[in-house]
Amino acid sequence: MSTSGGIPKHSDLKTPLKRVRGWGSSRSGTHHFVVQRVTAVALIPLTIWFVWFVLVLVHSDYANARAMLHQPIQALLMIVFVGATFWHTQLGLQVVIEDYVHATWLEIAAQLLVKFLCVIGAVASILAVIQVALA
């Protein structure tokens, strides 16, 4: 929102930072923005790999699918893909909730739920990959 009141009058010796700190939370600044972009960049090659991986799965049976994920490089890429995907998902859904959910208790509940589900989804998927990779 624009500061329609004009130029702040510095009638005391407070720095602008000290002044703004009393005006509510600035949350996490640019950290969210940066991590969203970092995971996005990582997901470009990983998504291309994932599409290739799924296309191979489409035309293979269970044994071949397992053998595929058993290869260390495929297991590694799947774990990194899952991690980046759920991280990026949480960051994206967080913004959607911030934008559309305005009741405080509902927003906090939704943010917690999304975070918990993303962690559970990531850990469960990675455990499954490890189980296949080490079998």
Partner: protein
């Protein structure tokens, strides 16, 4: 003394963004909305990713039941939707990253890259499903 910024308005008196009803519909806003919509759709799709990997670890029966679920009519419709969502979010995400480094903000470029994203995401979706349905012969 603290007369610096925010005039006190009631919540419903605050200035609003242009309302959808009076805003001429255009490509750029459509793609912006679709980027968010496909992102949410793909978030739901991660459930299938999870299910697939867990089924692969659990055994042949679970894996085959997830496959059967995917090959059911509802499953196929969802998969086509997720395929396009994935390619759209990927292509438009690259468009966003290019904006982040400061290129392509001019209106003609925003439209050119926008239509490129639409065409590329549709073409990739058709290509992938042609490959899937022809048994990889293509």
């Amino acid at each position: 003394m603290d007369n610096i910024a925010t005039p006190v308005l009631k919540r419903n008196e605050r200035p609003m963004s242009p309302h959808m009803g009076i805003y001429r519909w255009q490509l750029t806003m459509t793609l912006s909305i679709l980027h968010r919509a496909t992102g949410v759709a793909l978030s739901v799709g991660t459930i299938l990713l999870c299910a697939l990997l867990i089924a692969l670890a659990a055994g042949a029966e679970s894996y085959d039941s997830v496959r059967a679920l995917c090959m059911s009519p509802v499953g196929l419709v969802l998969l086509v939707g997720w395929t396009w969502s994935l390619f759209f979010h990927l292509c438009n995400g690259i468009r966003h990253l290019v904006w982040d480094i400061g290129w392509g903000f001019e209106i003609p470029r925003a439209y050119a890259t926008g239509w490129t994203v639409v065409a590329a995401s549709l073409a990739l979706t058709v290509l992938i499903w042609a490959f899937v349905l022809t048994g990889g012969a293509a």
